[in-house]
């Protein structure tokens, strides 16, 4: 595949890995967090850890959109799907994520709810056009990457006067989550400061950064004295970013660098940003699975688009649903525990019977480790 295989070249990888081995200094720690689930997936899928010296430790972050959705909001979507005349459209990843008491959209579908998996939000709009007698709701989740398409479709629905379409908006923002993670990992702070959880650097998001640009990450360097390197989702991108982080750490630098220059600019995609600003506004607070309530960390649909806002069109009382008590998703999402440190990992919690959200999506740290990497545990 043109423009893809070049970024998966095993020989180039060996060269980069050799340089990483050369440049790693004894006596230094290199605990690097990849924020994004896309990076987590690439790391596990390509076995990148096999190419790294032991001193370089990768810590999975919270950037899996499915994983951070709290179970209460997922349960609200399930309840919505079970109403008469509603067709709930969702991205495939979400269908197996457990809501309250382990219920899922797939189970609701089996009970008779009309749940449709779509590849794109515009497919949901097509369904609404084709089924004027039904209420079509799109279950919108994701970081800044999936938000502009949602904005486009809401604007399109308004232009067409499509009154049987609405969006259940769960879009969240990357910088506030990153801030929460960095605060958590500051020396002497956080839930478990002795858990060897201090970070030395971050691999910054790929697709998210194409939208927001590299500028919004400056606080990482300024406020937390951490290096951050924005990287693409291909495995060579990840290795290159690791090398750049090692170089910053070795020189004591803390700056935002952009490895993903083929797609990310300092200012990002202005048009996408304008669309987002036109349709969405900040929610004062929003609950994240694992990170708790974070201020100004999510988006709501502006009142002028109320007609296309499922939370205004339907009565949707907030649902508080506690996660399974043995599940360590919260600590895994914050990078405090590794998937295999969770008591139920691979035992009570497996991809076939996930107790927590991290075991569902291929981008979830637990699912990625289970599917691709658990043989390492057996070897250890």
């Amino acid at each position: 595949m043109k423009y893809i295989d070049e970024f998966r070249d095993g020989q180039v990888a060996q060269g980069l890995a050799a340089r990483i081995r050369q440049e790693v200094e004894p006596g230094r720690a290199y605990a690097l967090m990849e924020f994004c689930g896309g990076h987590t997936h690439a790391i596990c899928r390509y076995g990148i850890e096999d190419l790294l010296p032991d001193k370089v430790r990768l810590i999975h972050g919270p950037g899996c959109p499915v994983c951070v959705l709290p179970s209460g909001r997922l349960q609200s979507a399930i309840d919505l799907a079970e109403r008469d005349r509603v067709i709930l459209c969702s991205y495939g990843d979400l269908l197996r994520v457990p809501g309250a008491q382990g219920d899922t959209l797939l189970k609701a579908k089996a009970r008779g709810a009309e749940v449709r998996m779509v590849y794109s939000i515009s497919d949901a709009l097509d369904i609404a056009r084709a089924q004027p007698g039904r209420q079509v709701v799109f279950f919108a989740i994701g970081f800044e990457t999936t938000t502009p398409p949602t904005a486009v479709v809401i604007l399109q629905a308004r232009r067409e006067g499509l009154h049987n379409f609405s969006v259940y908006c769960n879009h969240v923002l990357t910088p506030p989550a990153l801030r929460a993670i960095l605060a958590d990992h500051r020396p002497g702070s956080g839930a478990d400061p002795k858990a060897n959880s201090l970070l030395n650097g971050c691999i910054g998001p790929a697709h998210v950064s194409t939208i927001i640009g590299s500028e919004p990450y400056q606080f990482v360097a300024a406020d937390y004295r951490q290096p951050l390197v924005i990287a693409g989702f291909e495995p060579l991108d990840v290795l290159q970013a690791i090398l750049l982080l090692i170089r910053q750490i070795n020189t004591g630098a803390a700056k935002v660098e952009n490895e993903y220059t083929r797609a990310v600019t300092p200012e990002g995609n202005r048009k996408a940003q304008r669309l987002m600003a036109e349709v969405f506004e900040l929610r004062p607070r929003f609950e994240w699975r694992g990170l708790g309530e974070l201020p100004d960390s999510a988006l709501a649909i502006r009142p002028e688009f109320a007609e296309w806002d499922a939370e205004r069109r339907f009565t949707m009382p907030p649902i508080q649903a506690a996660d399974h008590k043995a599940c360590a998703c919260a600590e895994v999402l914050r990078g405090i525990k590794r998937p295999q440190d969770c008591k139920v990992f691979g035992a009570a919690c497996t991809p076939d019977h996930p107790l927590g959200s991290c075991m569902v999506s291929a981008e979830g740290a637990c699912a990625a480790h289970y599917h691709y990497g658990r043989f390492r545990q057996a070897a250890a």
Partner: protein
């Protein structure tokens, strides 16, 4: 004087007619459907008797029986349709035991209102596949369900075959040191079908690989009768088939990603949709596991057959109490090729 009435006053309207409930009712309409459609297409001595069962000659050796139901959507896809698929699927299940397939039975569950023209297309495709494979459909059954209670047509086929002497093939026979071979590129069938689904507006050149593999199996067994396991990696793909064998045989596997053939369009579409070709269905590929010393001979036999031109040795069986299927990635790392959990769902980003 009026002429003696014909058995059926009018021919079935195979252009514009539809399946009706009476076509499954056991009366004249059903007899007509069988005679003018099924019998006309599958025509052979066993069917012509129109008895309830087919009387087959006895044969020496161990018999194999396999059955497979087909519920594919859409019914017609690039490179095939539910008709030929239902013939190939069962022939392949019989062949994967090392047996020579001899006879097929076919059951149709038809939905009221299903166009007879489509049914004829499907039945003709089955007839052609069965003739090409040299495996006749010797008996069958038809049921009709009310509109809305089926999905057009479901077809179940059952096959009988006989295992040649000296052949001992089972998914429980893989041994450490064995070589793992695949007969060609992965994922063509699954991606051909997926690219036709109504909610995916893709144009792709991908064709299903649906094919009867008993000829390929015979060619393989002829030069390498000591093969331990054969499996056609259908639903769940290569990944699932290898995990099944690893579990049944109590062994592990080590694959080399670079050696696994996948056609470029399949790779690209999988990449686009966030799917892994290792878990995508195939309908014309086989996986063979056998002693390393037979590997090159087996590979040559596969490659000499039209259905095995792209065959490759993709890894080996190892001793592993955990039964892990591991793969050396093209990138130089290692990963697990795990069981599939539920259906493959596309990722969000």
């Amino acid at each position: 004087m009026n002429p003696i009435p014909q058995r059926f006053a009018h021919h079935l309207d195979l252009k514009h007619g539809c399946v009706e409930l009476t076509h499954g009712g056991g009366g004249r309409a059903m007899a007509q459907l069988i005679e003018e459609l099924f019998l006309a297409a599958f025509d052979n001595d066993w069917l012509r008797t129109q008895d309830d069962g087919a009387r087959l000659p006895g044969c020496d050796g161990r018999l194999v029986m396999a059955t497979d139901s087909h519920v594919v959507s859409p019914l017609f896809f690039p490179g095939g349709d539910i008709g030929c698929l239902s013939v190939h699927g069962t022939i392949n299940d019989v062949a994967m035991t090392g047996a020579k397939p001899l006879y097929l039975a076919a059951t149709f569950i038809l939905e009221e209102g299903f166009p007879l023209a489509d049914l004829k297309r499907i039945v003709d495709s089955m007839a052609q596949a069965s003739r090409q494979a040299g495996v006749p459909i010797v008996t069958g059954d038809t049921k009709v369900v009310e509109r809305g209670k089926g999905d057009g047509v479901f077809i179940t086929t059952t096959g009988i075959g006989v295992i040649p002497p000296g052949v001992e093939i089972s998914a429980s026979r893989a041994k450490p040191g064995d070589a793992i071979l695949i007969s060609g590129a992965l994922g063509d069938h699954g991606m051909a079908v997926l690219s036709q689904r109504e909610n995916l507006s893709f144009e792709s050149p991908i064709m299903s690989d649906t094919a009867a593999l008993h000829g390929l199996v015979a060619a393989l067994i002829q030069v390498a009768p000591g093969i331990h396991c054969l499996r056609d990696p259908t639903r769940g793909g290569l990944g699932s088939a290898l995990n099944e064998i690893a579990q049944q045989s109590g062994v592990g596997m080590r694959l080399r990603e670079a050696a696994i053939p996948v056609h470029e369009p399949v790779r690209a579409l999988c990449e686009f949709l966030g799917l892994d070709p290792l878990y995508v269905a195939n309908e014309g590929k086989l996986l063979a596991i056998g002693p390393a010393k037979l590997a090159e001979t087996a590979l040559a036999a596969l490659r000499n057959h039209p259905l095995g031109r792209e065959a490759a040795i993709i890894g080996e069986v190892v001793a592993d109490d955990h039964g892990f299927v591991e793969m050396e990635t093209t990138f130089g790392g290692r990963r697990l090729v795990d069981w599939l959990s539920g259906e493959q769902l596309p990722r969000i980003c």
